[in-house]
Symmetry: C2
Subunit: 328 residues, 2 copies
């Protein structure tokens, strides 16, 4: 029998989950839950239902894993504990500083409901975290580096759009090649914020807006841009939509460390992602962890888990014998 | 209390384990077991004992995890099941095709002894396997590529040394940059053996040996060299020892795949290692899994495990709260 998946929230991530479920023959999409009027929400999967979020509880016995596709700022802190009482759930909560608190809330709720909840799944947090953790355990004497990009930062794009006179904008975070090369050489360099990433902005102005002032406002914006070398390009809305319509992203996790009786040998572990679609890739990771949640639950487990707590084999549709024969 | 480690077999890998244990404050080296006369074996750790392999069983209650540092061809197939009856063990069995059988033998022995045995730990099999598995679970529609090097292949170096007229030799396996770039672009190319790797040999001849014949014998050697573009350099023994004395290695695991309703988006996941010392890095991975073996055993588990079966958190000396706060 297939693992029956529910999607709560049908934006970019929800659609990504829908596509990922299609690629996994041991799963099927049962229903999508939306805050919009279900009649106005068109989904891609023919056999799946579209329902009101308010009716989710009625699906308690018809869904094995509910995937929560809301945002970390306002949706997930409330939603994940709420739904973890009713369903096995997976979320992509990505506010790093608030993970310990989110974990505690979700853990209590999931244990109360006898459910498995996997939080902070995706690539960062998620696969990048896994790679930081493995590399730290293997090379205890070393240094971690995380670079993001080249990719679209939604938060930075939004920050530009809030400036008066800006009609639309897209911001790319770009890792600095020289910094990457320095790290790859294994010399454990100390790098400033400015040395690690640059920011490139494509901005569409409102008619009559002052380009010089907008550029100045972007480049001096605290936290977002002031600590970076930032380039601003003014383009037409048409060009923005045509050339910058995608949501690519990616990045690098590197740990360099030393071994030997006197630390005489250097090693570099590098993990990188190059993604055409950030939400679709994130969704693909989430769906693999939905399988893990289902299996852990089948073994009688409950409570909150992260990627650190789940043995890799649970993610795969293949049996242990197959994994050992084909991939070990 | 520290995790008490035993090392069985004190070659390059055994010494690597000794160095790795030193870097992990929650562990201590209790004893090294050798087939040589213990009086002739000098180890680096002052407080640890050097004992005869035959006396290992006497250490049953004084060692928490025994790390088996023998070779895959003749040592480990017998040793791992033998010692898994007495100790929690970790080995680096790396004959990929024979893993299923080794797993079955070790599993039976470990269950009989109520012990945890982790097999095939290192980087390939080991970290590379993990990355193949995670990437396959996340991108079910895609293609895997593994490249090795640049690094020393012991097997190929030995093969050259067996040729008449060869005094000494070192062989480097080198991934082809153009092939790597092609794979990174995400186009899922089909690559032949020759397109993926080249082989570079540094050879010291016996006095009076025929260089032309030796070079011909190397380049036409079936399995080892005939399917590759091979370069042979004749150098002095002095230069070999000075310039080619290390045991570096490394490699790349890449999966490229597609997501989207019609597979319209491409993604590339890449993992790579650049290692100054193959045995010391392998040992560092093994020692992290020794910690995992100890913890799994503390929870009452037994039987044979691979890297696929062990949740990442078991490898780290840090507690779950610390991992979530610092690395997630």
């Amino acid at each position: 029998m297939s693992i029956r998946i529910g999607i709560l929230g049908y934006g970019n991530l929800g659609r990504g989950v829908e596509c990922a479920v299609k690629q996994n023959p041991d799963m099927e999409l049962a229903a999508v839950f939306t805050r919009r009027n279900p009649e106005n929400v068109k989904i891609l999967t023919e056999k799946a239902a579209v329902c009101r979020v308010e009716d989710a509880a009625e699906w308690k016995d018809k869904i094995d894993v509910m995937i929560l596709c809301g945002g970390s700022a306002t949706d997930l802190p409330g939603q994940t504990p709420e739904y973890a009482r009713l369903f096995h759930v997976v979320d992509s909560f990505d506010t790093h500083a608030k993970i310990p608190r989110h974990f505690a809330n979700v853990d209590a709720a999931a244990k109360e409901g006898g459910k498995v909840a996997v939080i902070s799944v995706g690539w960062d947090p998620g696969l990048f975290s896994l790679n930081r953790m493995y590399a730290n355990a293997i090379l205890p004497e070393g240094k971690d580096y995380t670079f993001w990009g080249k990719g679209v930062s939604q938060g930075h794009s939004d920050a530009i759009r809030r400036i008066a006179g800006v009609k639309n904008a897209k911001q790319y975070t770009i890792p600095v090649d020289e910094a990457l090369e320095l790290v790859r050489k294994g010399g454990n360099p100390e790098l400033t914020t400015r040395q690690k990433h640059t920011r490139e902005c494509f901005v569409v102005l409102e008619e009559g807006a002052d380009a010089v002032r907008v550029e100045e406002e972007i480049k001096t914006m605290p936290n977002y841009f002031a600590d970076y070398d930032t380039t601003v390009h003014f383009i037409s809305e048409e060009e923005l939509l045509k050339e910058h319509g995608g949501i690519p992203h990616g990045g690098f996790v590197i740990r360099s460390g030393r071994t030997g009786w006197e630390g005489e040998n250097r090693h570099v572990i590098e993990y990188s992602l190059k993604l055409d679609s950030n939400p679709e890739f994130t969704a693909s990771v989430i769906v693999a962890y939905a399988r893990a949640a289902y299996r852990l639950a089948s073994e009688g487990q409950s409570g909150c888990k992260t990627v650190f707590d789940i043995a890799p084999a649970y993610l795969s549709a293949k049996r242990g014998e197959e994994l050992r024969a084909e991939l070990l």
